[in-house]
């Protein structure tokens, strides 16, 4: 490419940036936040769920406590959901 063309090319690039908005809108970012929080909650529940099933296998009375412990990380997602209403 010839060197003379460079300024024109730069101008073109600047114009393109002015025309489009940010890559990620606020709503998009909020959705991403909720999604990541859900992923994290799932990961946390993996370990707890495994332990809970182990405990239930040994003792049926552990079903209710096990269930409660397993869904506790779900609060992460609920808190992250707040972001959706704020933006």
């Amino acid at each position: 490419m010839a060197i003379e063309n460079v300024p024109e090319l730069a101008e073109l690039a600047l114009q393109a940036e002015e025309m489009s908005g940010p890559t990620l809108e606020n709503e998009g970012a909020a959705a991403l936040a909720v999604g990541l929080a859900a992923l994290a909650a799932g990961y946390a529940e993996r370990g707890i769920g495994a332990a809970a099933v182990g405990a239930i296998a040994e003792d049926d009375d552990m079903f209710v406590p096990g269930l409660i412990m397993t869904v506790l990380p779900e609060t992460l997602v609920i808190l992250a959901l707040v972001v959706v209403f704020v933006v």
């Binding site: 370990g47 707890i48 495994a50 332990a51 809970a52 099933v53 182990g54 405990a55 296998a57 040994e58 003792d59």
Partner: protein, 355 residues
């Protein structure tokens, strides 16, 4: 080697639940006052119900208790291997090889004394890694040489064939048994620790290594004390197990000849000195080796418990359960045997490992 992700959470939850259902110290006190049939009845109302019922028709008295204990132990440890995956499986199976070693020793002794295979079989604890089919085939052969040949392709083949020459010269089983023991202990630290300098420094693996080193050290200390006490003219090097931190081989050779220096050496060790101080005092004063060995067992168990609360989701909890279960089985057996031969209650109590 097992593939897949390791699942410490699941195994830990189950193990801790089973740990909680072990006999408490008060139960031992109750058991001490019972006769063999009373103990069997007590066991029938607990964990051991199934085993007692299964074996009740064939055996009675102390034999019934003993076989029920062995069978229950095997069942629980087999479960551990069933549940675990990945690296956890490797670590547990490596530790449970202790029972393979026990079984092979029993079989070799049985062959040596020409005992009936069926009788040998009742004394085995099927909790190890070797498959039952292999054990069956070892049971069927008539000579020790053939038995070693059957174990071809297991890790015990090489050390046993090496030790067999020595066995042929001396006619004593000691070299074979030492070979098995050393094979077990030296594999424990495989691919976790590459020599004293390259151990993992922190995290669950470091604690696992620390625990195993403690076990090796205690084993070495026990052997050294026994040698020093008996004054037997044996080469201590053939009993020495590598991998510990308490002795190195030359130290051990020097110390075995001097009993007091040996006791001092163990007592002054930074890592174990404090933990074993009570046991060391008893060793110096009462000069009862049995008491000291029980103190070592108790110290190891406590050590495992501490480790399992430092890293809740690691293999430590499983190890502490294995130790606790073995202790329970040994205690009940000691009580039953003690009652059978008519020991005093206080004498039996001395035989127990109670924290």
């Amino acid at each position: 080697m097992s593939v897949g992700a390791s699942n410490p959470e699941y195994v830990n939850a189950r193990v801790r639940s089973r740990r909680a259902s072990l006999f408490a110290d008060e139960d031992y006190r109750k058991l001490i006052r019972m006769g063999p049939s009373g103990i069997a009845r007590f066991m029938e109302e607990s964990e051991y119900e199934r085993e007692i019922n299964e074996l009740g028709a064939r055996f009675s008295g102390v034999d019934l208790i003993e076989y029920a204990l062995n069978r229950n132990l095997a069942k629980h440890f087999h479960d551990l291997l069933d549940w675990s995956n990945g690296q956890l499986y490797d670590l547990i199976s490596r530790y449970l090889r202790k029972f393979d070693v026990w079984n092979l020793k029993t079989i070799i002794r049985g062959i040596y004394t020409e005992t009936d295979p069926e009788e040998i079989r009742t004394d085995l604890i099927m909790a190890g890694e070797l498959e039952e089919a292999t054990i069956d085939r070892v049971l069927e052969v008539d000579t020790i040489e053939d038995a070693i040949e059957v174990l071809n392709r297991t890790i015990y083949y090489e050390p046993l064939s090496d030790a067999y020459e020595e066995f042929e010269e001396t006619g004593a089983l000691v070299p074979l048994e030492n070979a098995l023991d050393r094979e077990f202990y030296e594999h424990l630290l495989d691919d976790l620790s590459r020599g004293p300098a390259a151990e993992p420094q922190e995290g669950p693996e470091a604690k696992y290594v620390e625990f195993l080193q403690a076990e090796i050290d205690f084993r070495n200390a026990r052997n050294a004390l026994r040698l020093a006490r008996s004054g037997a003219d044996l080469d201590p090097a053939s009993y020495y197990i590598e991998g510990g931190v308490l002795f190195d081989e030359s130290e051990l050779n020097r110390l075995v000849n001097d009993y007091d220096a040996l006791v001092d050496h163990i007592g002054e060790n930074k890592r174990y000195g404090k933990r074993l101080s009570g046991a060391m005092d008893r060793l110096r004063n009462a000069d009862s080796l049995i008491q000291f060995e029980h103190a070592l067992d108790a110290a190891l168990l406590e050590y495992a418990d501490t480790l399992s609360s430092i890293y809740p989701a690691s293999v430590s909890a499983v190890l502490s359960y294995i130790l606790a279960k073995e202790r329970e089985v040994e205690n009940i057996r000691a009580i039953a045997r003690g009652r059978e031969v008519g020991l005093e209650e206080s004498e039996i109590e001395e035989e127990l490992v109670i924290l």
